[in-house]
């Protein structure tokens, strides 16, 4: 175990393509697996698990968005809308046809992928600012449609209640059960994305990101791969929407408004564009930020202003801190939290000869 690397000694392509290239990474990956699958559910309280579940939910959507924004460089401000498409598709299937979760989940994903492909069509001709605004438009249009078509939204309040999912005959109700359920999908999403990026499709995405005209010239079918990136990313979003619906027990359009799309974009960028762990770090950061701020303000805020005033200020202060931190990270660490993580890891890997 305790030896140091002094270069790259890979002798086969299989070793070069390994998912966990660093020596000892298998051990640390196994350790993390034990920590998150066995230790955490046994030791964490209800409240901590609630927060962890929210992070896991966000992570699935962020991994998907990263395929689109980080690997293919197509800006999308519509992730929230695709989530709502998945959520309402599943909610309708569940309440009308009594669909089990293993049908509702992929159905929600596929519906979102379908809508996402349609939204992606303008990306064939426009990019940058124009594409960002076209996806913003789709967010507003989808949101309005769901809200105003009673067939989709279930009439009053535009929300549909769903029963908890049943897995192997067990009704998932407690936070621990939900945690393991969600953890399974996060791992699935992560492994699927990791392998996708290593494949022919993933390399085509990266070529399009780096220079789309050059990619077209070397024979990559831009039409196909751009739409595929939108479809895959929207599929992830749709699945996230279904998982949210199961977790909250209700499909509600307010969970998927424009600010949700924006916070998913923030997760991907703060976590680190075009990296695998980045979206997970970002999801944790953006989810924890308001919670931590609230606790800190509750405990120390009383020193500066009267407690009654505090309640008025907290939402604005949280907003301000959110904005300030985003700007801070973008200016100071452009490659995101993933870069920090890699710096730390490299420091340990190469210690004590870090040159």
């Amino acid at each position: 175990m305790f030896y140091r690397e002094a270069g790259i000694f890979k002798t086969s392509y299989a070793a070069d393509m390994a998912l966990l290239p660093a020596p000892g990474a298998r051990w640390s990956a196994a350790a993390f697996a034990v920590l998150f699958v066995v230790v955490v559910p046994l030791t964490c309280g209800e409240y901590a698990l609630t927060i962890l579940n929210l992070i896991l939910l966000a992570a699935v959507g962020a991994i998907g968005l990263n395929i689109l924004v980080g690997y293919t460089d197509q800006v999308s401000i519509g992730q929230g809308a695709f989530m709502s498409v998945g959520a309402y598709t599943a909610a309708n299937l569940i309440t009308r046809l009594n669909a089990p979760f293993w049908i509702a989940l992929p159905a929600g994903g596929l519906m979102a992928a379908l809508i996402g492909t349609v939204v992606g069509i303008p990306s064939l001709r426009i990019k940058g600012l124009y594409l960002a605004i076209a996806t913003l438009a789709s967010q507003l249009i989808i949101q309005w449609t769901i809200n105003h078509v009673p067939f989709i939204s279930g009439g009053s309040e535009a929300s549909i209640q769903v029963p908890p999912p049943v897995v192997f005959g067990i009704k998932l109700q407690s936070q621990v059960q939900m945690y393991l359920f969600l953890m399974f999908f996060v791992v699935l999403a992560l492994v699927a994305a990791q392998n996708l990026i290593r494949s022919r499709i993933g390399r085509a995405f990266i070529a399009i990101r780096d220079q789309d005209i050059a990619a077209e010239i070397i024979g990559i079918n831009i039409f196909r791969y751009k739409l595929l990136a939108f479809a895959i990313s929207s599929f992830y979003a749709g699945v996230t929407g279904v998982l949210y619906t199961y977790y909250l027990g209700i499909a509600n359009y307010e969970q998927f408004e424009l600010d949700v799309s924006i916070s998913f974009l923030a997760m991907v960028i703060i976590g680190g564009l075009g990296s695998m762990l980045g979206p997970i770090f970002g999801a944790a950061f953006i989810t924890l930020l308001p919670i931590v701020t609230r606790h800190v303000l509750d405990s120390v805020g009383g020193l500066f202003v009267a407690r009654a005033d505090l309640a008025n200020f907290v939402p604005s202060l949280r907003l301000a801190i959110f904005g300030a931190l985003i700007i801070f990270f973008l200016v100071v660490e452009p490659e995101g939290l993933n870069r920090l993580w890699r710096n730390i890891r490299t420091w340990f890997r190469t210690w004590p000869f870090s040159y």
């Binding site: 800006v75 600012l129 124009y130 309005w144 005209i213 924006i262 923030a266 200020f313 959110f322 904005g323």
Partner: protein
């Protein structure tokens, strides 16, 4: 569907045109920065709110109207200047999403800090134009809208003149067209970046005063900024005239949607009808109605 009523339609179109001019004014602030520096400013609505807040706070202290406008202008120019220095200069050359995200962060920072400084609650700005509606034949015009449209028109014409005729305006257009060549011609590009932001500050202060007078100044005012996007896309990003045409289209479409579609489908069409139109235009003309097609080189 309500019966087609000519007078009602004319009324909608007239008010749409006036609102459209006011949209064009704030859209100009967005276009200036985008053309000169390539930064996509998602905080334009917040800039407008900030300009309005300064003016409203000065008016609240019983100071005269002209002083409120002046202080709002000075405050916004200083703010945008500082912003360019501290944040946006460091983001030059980053991916589009990063700049978008930074301005979104900025937007929520402004939203939060504004409430902390100016407090919650609605403030009002009273334009010195009175309350009496103006009758033009059968059409009734609100004085606030009329004043806003007039101010917008004057400044849009002023900016056109500035870009077409003055030395600085020509230099700004050169920077927008090609930064490297401009540098080669001896133009101080950094200075014109700062100037583009300062002009955005002016536009935001003016927009803040007129929009604040129209809608009242509170944390809902930044939503005006969401209208900027269809305006700039429809008009294309290449000229002041484009912004005006885009603004007028969005204003009229919005007014007609609110007048005719809302009763049929049940509300809210005002906010997304311009976007639907924009998507349709993008399908046919990807560079907007008046935008130039850009040739890309590898």
């Amino acid at each position: 569907m309500p019966d087609f009523d000519l007078q009602f339609t004319i009324l909608l179109v007239a008010s749409g045109l006036m609102i459209g001019l006011m949209y064009a004014l704030i859209a100009l602030g967005f276009v200036l920065v985008y053309k000169a520096t390539g930064a996509i400013n998602f905080a334009q609505g917040e800039f407008v709110m900030l300009g309005a807040l300064i003016a409203a706070a000065v008016l609240g202290a019983n100071l005269p109207f002209w002083l409120a406008c002046l202080l709002s202008l000075a405050g916004m120019i200083g703010f945008c200047f500082g912003l360019e220095r501290v944040v946006l200069r460091k983001l030059l050359g980053r991916p589009t999403v990063s700049v978008i995200m930074a301005t979104i962060g900025l937007a929520s920072l402004i939203d939060g800090v504004a409430v902390l400084i100016f407090g919650p609650g609605v403030r009002s700005i009273d334009l010195p134009v009175g309350e009496m509606p103006l009758y033009l034949g059968p059409i009734m015009l609100q004085p606030v809208q009329l004043a806003g449209a007039a101010v917008s028109l004057v400044f849009l014409v002023g900016f056109s003149w500035f870009f077409l005729k003055t030395r600085m305006g020509v230099a700004m257009r050169a920077v927008a067209d090609n930064q490297t060549v401009s540098m080669g011609m001896g133009i101080n590009v950094q200075r014109y970046f700062a100037m583009a932001w300062a002009l955005t500050g002016i536009v935001s202060a003016l927009g803040g005063v007129i929009w604040g007078a129209m809608l009242g100044v509170d944390n809902q005012l930044p939503l005006v900024g969401l209208k900027v996007f269809p305006v700039v896309i429809l008009g294309g990003l290449d000229s002041v005239a484009g912004a005006v045409v885009g603004g007028l289209i969005v204003g009229v479409v919005e007014a007609l949607a609110a007048g005719y579609l809302d009763p049929v489908v049940g509300g809210g069409t005002k906010d997304f009808a311009p976007y639907v139109l924009m998507i349709l235009v993008l399908m046919i003309r990807p560079y907007g109605l008046f935008g130039r097609r850009r040739i890309e080189r590898i």
